[in-house]
């Protein structure tokens, strides 16, 4: 079984603690993405799993076995590096078979494995080339091939697509996820830990996503949950594009919220979603896609000045200033009606399902009770 378990994992550099006792369980065959802004220690965590950084506290278990003291070669892992790290003086064929040659596997076995892997990644015509003769995309496929051939328990990816251009990134994303599905279908172990700073990559590739910040886990969940039920303002703001709108607010009676000097009606049912306890200062969060244009002067809506709009084809981006704050609303083009404006004033309403309230102090989402 290729489960990965991190228990109270810590990394200290001298007196600086980079990773603060994180706990994570990755299931066999799961595609787990570690995502977060730079400095969140996701790469450090990955490198500790690989054995390239020494663990200063806690445990790492692969397949149930403690691997803290094992060399990178003995952990049953393989890794795809951001800069590919192909051995420049070896042809592609030799790059792929290096790990097997080190273990002195018989030539026929190496041949077969090389063929199989290069077929999977469509790099057969490249087998006799040197790395410097490969394009970025080809080099990355060879790097993936090198990882595959080892038949590891866990695959580690360290921002493998960052060095590629946008179009290539999109096609490689698909290739990697297809590869993962295919390996699982063939019954092979295919647990993946994938590090990226790009939330689009995370959301489209991961079975589950682990959002990290400053060496701590902010939330671990599947993409849908992460999007619809973010545990705190950080996750809410990190996942989703354009970013979620945040407004300072206070509770006002049942089902009402006061923000930017205006009262917004959320409906009585909304109160069921709130966690127990009294709530003082809160932050109101709402995704651009959940804002709607209301008829002018509708009570319980947010009134703001339209700054400018961007026509994106089948959507329109509205940039609305409410006091000093700028909100973005994304509405379908069909529903955008200039008649709903009065001298650049626009009234916005929110689908209560898309509204989140966060404790202003802790950032915790207090509207997840239902």
């Amino acid at each position: 079984m290729a489960r990965l378990q991190l228990r109270n994992l810590e990394k200290d550099y001298g007196s600086f603690r980079a990773v603060h006792g994180i706990n994570l369980d990755v299931e066999d065959g799961e595609f787990m993405v570690l995502v977060g802004p730079s400095g969140c220690a996701k790469s450090t965590t990955l490198r500790m799993i690989a054995g390239l950084e020494r663990v200063t506290g806690g445990e790492i278990r692969i397949g149930g076995e403690l691997v803290n003291d094992k060399t990178p070669g003995d952990r049953g892992i393989s890794m795809v590096f951001q800069n590919y790290a192909l051995y420049p003086h070896m042809k592609v064929r030799k790059n792929l078979s290096f790990s097997m040659r080190l273990k002195r596997r018989p030539g026929a076995e190496i041949e077969k494995a090389t063929e199989h892997v290069s077929g999977m990644l469509e790099i057969e015509p490249l087998l006799d080339r040197l790395p410097k003769q490969l394009s970025g995309g080809q080099a990355q496929r060879v790097a993936v091939g090198r990882a595959l051939i080892k038949k590891p328990q866990v695959f580690l990816f360290d921002e493998p697509l960052s060095n590629l251009d946008a179009k290539l990134r999109a096609s490689m994303r698909v290739r990697i996820t297809d590869l993962h599905k295919r390996l699982k279908a063939e019954g092979q172990q295919a647990t993946v830990i994938y590090v990226t700073h790009d939330q689009t990559e995370a959301m489209t590739m991961g079975d589950r996503i682990c959002v990290m910040k400053d060496g701590r886990i902010m939330q671990v969940a599947d993409p849908v949950t992460l999007y619809n039920r973010p545990a705190n303002t950080f996750v809410a703001g990190f996942i989703g594009s354009p970013e979620m709108n945040f407004l300072d607010a206070e509770m006002e009676g049942a089902g009402n919220v006061r923000a930017a000097g205006q009262t917004i009606a959320l409906g009585e049912d909304f109160a069921h979603r709130l966690s127990a306890g009294s709530h003082g200062e809160i932050t109101l969060g709402i995704r651009p896609q959940h804002l709607r244009i209301a008829l002018p002067e509708t009570p319980g809506t947010l009134k703001g000045k339209l700054n400018h709009i961007e026509f994106m084809g089948h959507e329109v981006y509205l940039y609305v200033d409410i006091g000093p704050k700028r909100l973005i609303a994304v509405v379908p083009s069909a529903s955008y009606d200039r008649g709903a404006l009065r001298d650049d004033w626009v009234w916005l309403t929110a689908d209560p399902k898309g509204v989140h309230l966060f404790d202003r102090q802790t950032g915790e989402n207090i509207s997840l009770a239902a």
């Binding site: 378990q5 663990v55 445990e59 003291d69």
Partner: protein
């Protein structure tokens, strides 16, 4: 399930500490061994030099009795008597002579190699490939083969017993190594600034003087330093061409001092040796950065 797995291994926290301590110890031993080896070799390497300096302050008899480097009764006798030499000339004359060789050579090298490197790196012209190949060939050419006819050439020019044969070839970019080094350095510099200068109306010559040379400065300094050091050490050249003692540079004068008498005063010779080495050493320490950078960049590319 997780708890069940965890409780099987005994005190994982304790294990980690024990292993981590062992790792640290192994690492420390590795580092310690390296330091010991490095220091040992370093001491062995430098002891002759350290001893040389110490010996220059010893008396003659002490040199042959005391392997330690600190003189028992430090004396400047070696320096004073050595400076006077057994010739009508003092070592001062010989040092001056060396300068008469070194300075024209360094200047000539700097100017000609810069111009030639500029030509190679920035221009296309007929026979360029051939000429560059000839540069590489000269680099590898053992100059033992050209030494004799060069002597005959200089004899026919009437340049024997003068310093001209020692620096004129360098003034014609004769040291392919330096041209090569500058060409490599120039190739790595983008042409943007020079192109901007040309657009501003500068001629290639003006571009060379005002734009390229300042950009080339670090490599040029390396070139000058290396040429300075190598020329200070040059022995065979002066040996072949300089016959009058009053024209001897330091290298020939030193040889003279161990030739003349059988039982010569070692402390004097060693004292003068120290003086002979000092300029090179001083220059090296003052401009260390340029040396090591120069040799690494010139060497890696190829």
């Amino acid at each position: 399930m997780a708890e069940h797995v965890l409780s099987q291994s005994p005190s994982p926290a304790q294990d980690i500490d024990v292993v981590r301590a062992r790792e640290m110890r192994r690492h420390r031993i590795n580092v310690a061994l390296r330091y010991v080896l490095l220091a040992g070799v370093g001491l062995l390497m430098l002891y002759p030099l350290i001893w040389l300096i110490g010996a220059s302050f010893k008396t003659n008899s002490e040199i042959f009795s005391n392997p330690g480097f600190w003189p028992e009764n430090p004396t400047l006798d070696g320096y004073i008597k050595g400076w006077q030499t057994s010739t009508p000339y003092s070592f001062g004359t010989f040092f001056l002579n060396t300068l008469w060789i070194v300075i024209p050579k360094v200047i000539g090298t700097a100017i000609s190699c810069t111009a030639v490197a500029y030509g190679f790196a920035r221009f296309d012209f007929p026979f360029k490939k051939l000429l560059f190949a000839s540069l590489i060939a000269t680099l590898l050419l053992p100059n033992v083969v050209t030494r004799i006819p060069q002597y005959l050439l200089f004899r026919d020019l009437g340049w024997l017993d003068s310093y001209l044969p020692l620096w004129v070839p360098s003034a014609f970019a004769g040291d392919a190594f330096f041209v090569f080094m500058l060409v490599q350095f120039l190739r790595a510099i983008p042409r943007d600034m020079e192109e901007a200068a040309r657009v501003d109306g500068a001629t290639t010559w003006q571009t060379l003087i005002f734009i390229v040379v300042p950009l080339l400065m670090p490599a040029l300094i390396s070139v000058c330093l290396f040429q300075f050091m190598w020329t200070m050490n040059d022995f065979l050249g002066p040996l072949i061409y300089i016959s009058s003692v009053d024209k001897y540079p330091v290298s020939l004068a030193l040889k003279l001092s161990i030739d003349t008498t059988e039982a010569f005063e070692w402390n004097r010779v060693l004292a003068m040796s120290v003086l002979a080495l000092t300029p090179a050493l001083a220059v090296f320490f003052l401009a260390q950065k340029y040396f090591i950078d120069g040799i690494s960049s010139g060497g890696i590319k190829g």
